[in-house]
C-alpha cells in the first residue's frame, strides 16, 4: 500500500470532528503535492509517499538505555515513544501537558493532514517573567517499524520569559519511518527563545517539519537546524512578526552524503516596523546528496526600518551532489535594509595545500576546511552541548578523528 492508502484505511477506523472530516476529504481529493507545485519544485515526494507505512501502532517499551544513548545529557526531558508522551520534567513556572488541539488555518497539504489526524504532541506553557536556565530536551522516539507518526506541538511563552530547547527525533531501528511534525511557538512580548533541532536520524528516516512562530513586540527567537542524518528532510520554518522590534534568527547546517536530501524552506513575514531577521544556512554535499534552499522574506508596507539579512552558502564536494538555492524577497516598504547572498563552491585549493604542507592529510584538511565553512553558523548556537555535538557529528560524517573544539 502507499501512504495515501494507509491514511485512508486508518481514517476509516477512527472518529473525527466534521471540520476535520472536511480537511480529510479535501486532502484525499487533491493528494500530495508534486514537483509541478512551486513549493515542491526541487523536492520530489514520489518515493516517500509510495512506501507502505503503519499508522497508530505502538512498538516495544522504550528502555532507559535508549533514552540515555540518544540524549545530549540534559536533565529536563520530554520523552515520546511512538507518539505517546511518556515523561515530562517539573520546572517552576512551566506547565507541560499532552497533546491539545489548536487551530491553524493553512493551505499546506502536510499541515492540513496534521490538522486532520494528529493526536500526539506536547503543550508547553511558560509563565510570564519566567527565566529558565536549564535546557529542555525533547526526544521523540520511533519504536515501530515502517511507522508514520504525526506530532502537533504548541509552545506558549508568556511575556518577558526566556527559554531554550533541544529537539531530536530518533528512529530506534533501521527500518523506514516518516514523521510529519508540526510545532507552533507563540512568543510573548520581550521574550527570548532558542530552539535547536538536531536532525540526525537513521538512514531510512523521513521528516517533514513545519514550525510556525508568532512573535510579539520586543521578542527574539533563534532557531538552529542541524541536518546530518535521515534520507529525506523537509523543513518549513515560518516566522510572523506581529510587533515592532522583533528579532528572528535562523542558523542552518546541513552535511549530507549518499542519497540524502534536505530541503530548507524559510519564510519571514515582516509585518511591523523596526524588526530584524538574520538567516544563515550552510550546506555541505557529498556523494549523491541533494540540497534545496528556499528563503522567502516578505516586508509588508507598514514594516519600515526593517533590517533583513539572508545568506545561503553551499559546498559541493562531489561530482554528483546538487543544490538548488532560491532567495525570494518581496518588499513593499520603502525604508528597509535587505540583503541576501548565495554561494556555491568547492574547497579552496590554496588553503588545502597550505594545510597539507603543515602535515595535515588531505582528508583531514578537507574536513578542517569544511568545518571552517560551517563554523560561522555553528558558533551562533548558544548551548555548548549542541555545539560540541555538531562538531562531533561533522567529524564523523567526514570520516575523520578530529576535535574542533579548541
Amino acid at each position: 500500500m502507499s501512504l495515501i492508502e494507509n491514511l485512508k484505511s486508518y481514517s476509516e477506523g477512527i472518529n473525527v470532528s466534521s471540520d476535520k472530516k472536511k480537511l480529510l476529504t479535501s486532502f484525499f481529493e487533491k493528494g500530495f503535492p508534486t514537483i509541478q507545485d512551486e513549493e515542491w519544485k526541487y523536492t520530489s515526494l514520489k518515493k516517500l509517499i509510495s512506501e507502505d507505512y503503519s499508522i497508530g501502532k505502538n512498538g516495544s517499551i522504550l528502555s532507559d538505555l535508549d533514552i540515555s544513548n540518544h540524549s545530549l545529557g540534559f536533565e529536563n526531558k520530554i520523552v515520546f515513544s511512538d507518539g505517546k508522551l511518556i515523561s515530562t520534567p517539573k520546572i517552576k513556572g512551566i506547565t507541560f501537558s499532552d497533546f491539545s488541539d489548536f487551530e491553524c488555518s493553512t493551505a499546506d497539504t502536510f499541515l492540513q493532514l496534521n490538522s486532520a489526524l494528529a493526536n500526539n504532541g506536547f503543550t508547553i506553557k511558560v509563565d510570564s517573567n519566567t527565566i529558565v536556565d536549564e535546557v529542555i530536551e525533547i526526544l521523540f522516539f520511533t519504536n515501530t517499524e515502517n511507522s508514520f507518526n504525526q506530532y502537533r506541538n504548541q509552545i506558549i511563552i508568556g511575556d518577558n520569559a526566556e527559554i531554550k530547547f533541544v529537539e531530536k527525533i530518533q528512529n530506534l531501528s533501521n527500518s523506514t519511518s516518516f514523521v510529519n511534525h508540526f510545532t507552533q511557538i507563540d512568543c510573548g512580548k520581550n521574550t527570548n527563545v532558542e530552539y535547536n533541532k538536531i536532525q540526525n536520524n537513521t538512514e531510512n528516516s523521513k521528516l517533514i517539519d513545519t514550525m510556525n512562530i508568532f512573535q510579539k513586540e520586543d521578542s527574539t527567537c533563534n532557531i538552529n537546524t542541524l541536518i546530518f542524518g535521515g534520507s529525506f528532510t523537509r523543513n518549513n520554518l515560518n516566522f510572523e512578526q506581529n510587533g515592532s522590534n522583533c528579532e528572528s534568527n535562523m542558523n542552518g547546517v546541513s552535511i549530507l552524503d549518499k542519497n540524502q536530501l534536505a530541503d530548507n524552506h524559510t519564510f519571514v513575514d515582516h509585518k511591523q516596523p523596526h524588526c530584524t531577521s538574520n538567516e544563515m544556512y550552510k550546506g555541505v554535499y557529498l556523494g549523491n546528496s541533494k540540497g534545496v534552499f528556499n528563503g522567502k522574506i516578505m516586508v509588508r508596507q507598514d514594516a519600515q526600518k526593517i533590517d533583513a539579512f539572508q545568506s545561503n552558502n553551499n559546498l559541493l564536494l562531489s561530482e554528483n551532489s546538487t543544490i538548488d538555492s532560491k532567495p525570494q524577497l518581496e518588499i513593499y516598504a520603502d525604508d528597509v535594509k535587505c540583503s541576501h547572498g548565495c554561494t556555491i563552491g568547492q574547497l579552496d585549493e590554496d588553503a588545502l595545500f597550505y594545510m597539507r604542507s603543515r602535515g595535515i592529510g588531505i582528508t583531514e584538511a578537507k574536513a578542517v576546511l569544511t568545518y571552517a565553512f560551517a563554523s560561522e553558523a555553528i558558533e551562533n548556537i548558544s548551548i555548548l552541548e549542541v555545539k560540541l555535538l555538531a562538531q562531533k557529528l561533522l567529524a564523523k560524517k567526514l570520516n575523520v578523528d578530529l576535535d574542533f573544539s579548541v
Binding site: F353, Y354, M355, G359
Partner: protein, 251 residues
C-alpha cells in the same frame, strides 16, 4: 640532507626551472636570491609539493628518500617546512585549532603519542614569547585580517611549533618593517641548530644582515648561475643582478 639534481619543472607548458642543482646539509643556512620571475618561489613550491607544478626532469632527495614521490603532507611529516610568501587566510579556524590539528597529525604520522591540549597550549605560549606575539592571538582565525607582518610572524610561529629539519623561508622579509624583521630573524636564529637547515629565499640583502647565510646562490632564468659565501649578497646589494646575468649570458 637535501640534494637537488638537474631539477626541471614548470606549470603546464611553461618551464620555469631549468636544471637546478643544490645541496643543503644539516646545520647550514642557504640564501637563494634573484630577480623577479627567476623561479625562486617555484623552487620552494616544488620542494614542498604543490601539485600544480609539474616536475619534468631531475630529482630531489631528502635524507635518502625521493621527495618527489611524496605527498605534501608526507613531506611535512619528514620534516620539510615552507614558510609561505602569501600565507592563506582560513576563516573559521583559530590559530590554536590549526596548530593543534597540524601537530596532532604530524605526531600521528610519525608514530608519536599526542600531546595533551594543556601542554600544547603551554608550548604555544612559550613560542609566542620568542616571537613577541601578543595574547589573544591564538583564538584569532588563521591569518584572517592579519597584517602582512602578522602573517609572516605566524609562519615562523608554526615553524617553531613544528620544529622541522628543513625550513624554506619564501620571501619572509617582504611586508615586514624593520622591527618585525628583526623579531622574525631573531626567531629563526634561535631555532637554528646543527641538526636542521634553512633555505632563505629573498630579493634583498637586508634579511641576510640578520640571518647570516653560509652560502648564497643566485637564481636567474630557472638556473643557479652563481654561488658564493655571504659576501656575494653584499655584492649583489651594491651592484644589482645585471653584472651576474650578463656574465651568465656570455657563458
Amino acid at each position: 640532507m637535501l640534494k637537488i639534481k638537474d631539477l626541471k619543472a614548470g606549470i603546464e607548458d611553461n618551464q620555469i626551472l631549468n636544471e637546478i642543482n643544490l645541496e643543503v646539509n644539516a646545520g647550514e643556512v642557504h640564501a637563494i636570491m634573484g630577480p623577479n620571475g627567476s623561479g625562486k618561489s617555484t623552487l620552494a613550491a616544488v620542494i614542498a609539493g604543490k601539485d600544480e607544478y609539474e616536475v619534468v626532469g631531475g630529482s630531489i632527495d631528502f635524507e635518502g628518500e625521493d621527495l618527489l614521490e611524496l605527498s605534501p603532507e608526507e613531506r611535512a611529516h619528514k620534516g620539510v617546512f615552507l614558510s609561505f610568501q602569501y600565507p592563506v587566510e582560513i576563516p573559521g579556524i583559530s590559530v590554536s585549532n590549526f596548530i593543534k590539528t597540524s601537530i596532532t597529525e604530524l605526531r600521528k604520522a610519525t608514530g608519536m603519542k599526542p600531546i595533551p591540549t594543556k601542554d600544547l597550549l603551554k608550548m604555544m605560549r612559550d613560542k609566542m614569547k620568542l616571537l613577541n606575539i601578543k595574547n589573544g592571538y591564538l583564538s584569532r582565525n588563521m591569518n584572517e585580517g592579519f597584517s602582512g607582518g602578522e602573517k609572516k610572524r605566524n609562519e615562523i610561529f608554526q615553524m617553531a611549533m613544528l620544529d622541522p629539519k628543513l625550513s624554506i623561508l619564501d620571501e619572509t622579509d617582504s611586508g615586514l618593517d624593520i622591527d618585525a624583521l628583526r623579531i622574525v630573524a631573531n626567531g629563526v636564529n634561535k631555532l637554528k641548530s646543527k641538526n636542521n637547515a634553512t633555505i632563505v629565499i629573498t630579493h634583498y640583502q637586508r634579511l641576510l644582515d640578520y640571518i647570516i647565510p653560509d652560502f648564497v646562490h643566485v637564481l636567474y632564468d630557472g638556473k643557479i648561475i652563481k654561488s658564493g659565501g655571504k659576501e656575494l649578497a653584499h655584492e649583489l646589494d651594491e651592484r644589482g643582478y645585471d653584472w651576474i646575468t650578463k656574465e651568465a649570458n656570455k657563458k
